[in-house]
């Protein structure tokens, strides 16, 4: 190696040495910077993660609140729709009852006068026959033509039949008014048997025989029960719902099992339990029953097994609200698929006692009023 080359080599080595020394000092400060950066980065990200977690919890709570609110809104909407329907039905029923009531009262009231007048006329006719026995041939022919002895007997029966007919119409009208209960917007003491009978009247035509089945036999087993403090119109809607469901179940059973041999039957039972001071109403049928899988959902809003457009899925949920929410009672069902279903209602006899006994429920009650 010559001197020039050696000098160049030394220069290069000196340069390399300078660069390495500089890089070493810089790398040490960079290392410290990276360590610090690593620590602060971990702290920063930990805080951000914590905030995200808090935000996620808040979001979940908000979602839950929104879901609950949505559920309540849908239920309220459904109740409003149902209430509107029932209100319209009640108004119509009450209107029809009112319109029929007056003319039928005229007829019924005048029937007694007609009876009296016809008796008087028959009596007068008898007197004529006694005072003027030598009758003309024209009179004899006319008496024979109208079969006067039969007329005398049948006129009385006809008038009695008309009287019982108008009496029945008056009872039906009264039942319609009881069902509608438009004048009863608050808790009142009600004869539940009267309510049940008036509701049965509303579904009477559905009990008749159809192409698929025989006429439905309605069996009522009413035990003596005291009057119950309740919202009569709301309870009538529950009875109507349960009776309609019972008939639907029987119709489904008839369609699903064309060779079904049993007599279709709807049973209504009532009972009073003195120990709990409550009334039990059972509405049962021997229809198709409810499968065990869907039984937990039947009181859920918008749950329905009916085809789209035929059921809102609100009937039983609204009934549940009425019995449990509004009357602090119980509503549950027992069912055996293909054998039948029983819906059982327990109602406290007096709402005021339930409310004063349970302050918590007072709030709910107030809320129900608010609804």
């Amino acid at each position: 190696m010559d001197i020039t080359t050696a000098a160049q080599r030394i220069q290069e080595l000196e340069k390399t040495n300078r660069i390495l020394a500089k890089q070493l000092s810089r790398s040490e400060s960079n290392r410290q910077q990276i360590e610090l950066q690593h620590e602060t980065s971990a702290t920063f990200l930990r805080q951000v993660i914590q905030e995200l977690q808090t935000s996620q919890v808040r979001l979940e709570e908000r979602t839950q609140t929104l879901e609950t609110t949505l559920q309540e809104l849908r239920l309220t909407q459904g109740k409003l729709v149902a209430s509107e329907k029932m209100s319209a039905l009640g108004t119509m029923v009450a209107g029809v009852a009112h319109e029929i009531n007056n003319p039928i009262n005229f007829v019924h009231g005048n029937l007694s006068h007609v009876n009296l007048y016809s008796q008087d006329l028959l009596h007068l006719l008898k007197l004529y026959q006694q005072e003027f026995p030598a009758t003309s041939s024209k009179l004899a022919i006319a008496i024979e033509a109208i079969d006067l002895p039969f007329l005398e007997q049948d006129l009385k029966k006809t008038l009695q039949s008309m009287s019982s007919g108008t009496d029945r119409i008056r009872k039906i009208v009264n039942s319609l008014k009881i069902f509608a209960r438009l004048d009863e917007a608050a808790y009142k003491y009600i004869d539940l048997h009267e309510s049940l009978n008036s509701t049965v009247l509303m579904i009477q035509n559905r009990l008749d025989a159809t192409e698929d089945r025989a006429a439905i036999q309605l069996v009522t087993e009413y035990r003596p029960i005291p009057q119950v403090e309740c919202y009569a119109s709301a309870l009538n809607q529950v009875f109507l719902q349960l009776l309609n469901n019972a008939i639907d179940a029987i119709n489904d059973q008839s369609i699903q099992h064309p060779i079904w041999k049993q007599i279709p039957q709807v049973r209504i039972q009532t009972n009073y339990d003195g120990a709990t001071d409550s009334i039990t109403i059972t509405i049962g049928d021997n229809g198709c029953g409810i499968p065990e899988t869907i039984r937990p959902k039947i009181f859920d809003p918008f749950f329905t097994t009916k085809p789209i457009g035929q059921g809102t899925g609100l009937g039983l949920s609204t009934s549940y609200q009425t019995i449990v929410g509004q009357h602090k009672g119980q509503l549950y069902c027992r069912s055996v698929p293909a054998h039948g279903t029983e819906f059982v209602i327990h109602l406290p006899l007096r709402q005021s006692l339930v409310i004063s006994d349970t302050p918590h429920q007072q709030d709910n009650q107030d809320q129900q009023h608010g609804d």
């Binding site: 300078r18 810089r26 950066q37 602060t40 980065s41 951000v48």
Partner: protein
């Protein structure tokens, strides 16, 4: 007969020798070899703060007697010759027969930024025979608000005039940065509190893009009290209180810049990095001013995203270039990116270099604030933690 192509030559040289004289000799010899007798008219020099800058300038100006030069101290340097380097110096020299390139300087920025910038532009423009087309600038951001510097330049050149460059830096010491200047009248000036400009005029083509890649991650806050480059309150509380839970009470550093949203309900933001904080007032200071109002979030720099953004920015700059003969790529990257990228800083350069199929010379430095349009076709702004790619040619 076909016109002869316009001559526009850019030669670069890079030395990582910490010895100033040796480094100067390396830069000069390498540049002279590449120029092959052509006269260097203008140049840009970036040098780490530990060099004897005046010695560097003196040797360079002596070697290239007709040279007009600007530059500044840098946090780190980049070139296609040596890639990413710390404690190095890098020089680009320009030669052209038709493109005019002239320099200007304004002193005492802190006293009057408008006057300093106007002086610098006037000095440069007085030498031009054609309208200027591009301005490259470097300025002191520790003595004056970077926005004030830019506003001063825009007041003279126009709001939409392309002004690109950076705030000079000093390896995160935040003590004193230097601006370099040399021409026939002012020789080998190494200044602080100054602004230097390089104006281009003539048949020049250029394109540029700004890459960001940061993610705002903290809770949002509203700016409630500002004094220029000092942000005093967020949400009615001292600014440091806003940072406290995220940094466990430690002073905010450049790695945690504030994303400042440009408009309510707008996802676009620019970044301001804290260079110092005051525990007494709870305020922090940056090299460019904060807006009087606005929504802020502490941003986080994920390395992958920063590198991906750099790559995308350069791809777009290449796509935007309308000329036929690009001559050089200038990169102005934020010192914060270097800190966050750490050992992966070289990757930022390599993704650019991998796309550089024409093997264009690349030169750049790490700044305390980048000056360029943040979005395409918008006026220039001062922003932090970005990478500006500028392609110049004919």
């Amino acid at each position: 007969m076909k016109d002869a192509p316009i001559v526009f030559q850019a030669v670069i040289s890079h030395s990582n020798d910490p010895d100033t004289l040796s480094a100067a000799i390396e830069l000069i010899e390498h540049s002279q070899r590449q120029l092959a007798g052509a006269i260097a008219q203008t140049g840009i020099l970036f040098a780490a703060p530990d060099f004897e800058h005046q010695v560097l300038l003196r040797h360079i100006s002596q070697a290239f007697p007709h040279l007009q030069l600007i530059g500044g101290s840098s946090d780190a340097e980049i070139s296609s010759e040596m890639g990413f380097q710390e404690d190095s110096c890098v020089l680009v020299l320009f030669h052209s027969d038709e493109i005019e390139m002239v320099v200007g300087i304004g002193h005492e920025l802190s006293q009057n930024a408008a006057q300093a910038t106007a002086t610098a532009i006037a000095q440069a423009q007085s030498q031009l025979t054609q309208p200027s087309k591009l301005c490259i600038t470097f300025a002191d951001g520790l003595t004056q608000d970077g926005n004030q510097v830019l506003t001063g330049l825009q007041a003279v050149l126009g709001d939409h005039f392309p002004i690109l460059g950076g705030i000079t830096s000093d390896q995160m010491r935040f003590q004193q940065t230097r601006q370099f200047f040399h021409n026939a009248e002012i020789n080998n000036a190494v200044m602080s509190d100054a602004v230097v400009v390089l104006l281009f005029a003539g048949p020049l083509q250029f394109s540029h893009r700004t890459a960001q890649g940061w993610t705002p991650l903290s809770q949002k806050g509203e700016i409630t009290k500002v004094g220029g480059t000092t942000l005093t309150e967020i949400n009615g509380q001292p600014t440091l209180e806003f940072y406290r839970p995220y940094l466990n009470g430690a002073a905010p550093t450049v790695e945690y810049p504030l994303a400042i949203f440009t408009a309510p309900d707008n996802e676009q933001f620019y970044l301001r990095e804290p260079i110092r904080s005051d525990p007494m007032t709870g305020s922090l200071t940056s090299t460019a001013s904060f807006p009087e109002t606005g929504t802020v979030q502490i941003a986080y720099g994920e390395r992958e995203k920063l590198i991906a953004a750099s790559q995308q920015g350069f791809i777009q700059a290449l796509a935007d270039y309308d000329g036929n003969h690009p001559a050089i790529v200038l990169l102005f990257s934020c010192a914060t990116r270097r800190v966050v990228l750490g050992t992966r800083t070289t990757e930022e350069y390599h993704v650019v270099q991998s796309l550089n199929q024409l093997q264009l010379p690349i030169i750049g430095f790490y700044t305390y604030g980048e000056i360029a349009p943040l979005n395409y076709n918008q006026p220039s702004e001062v922003h932090h933690a970005t990478l500006v790619s500028l392609i110049i040619g004919t």
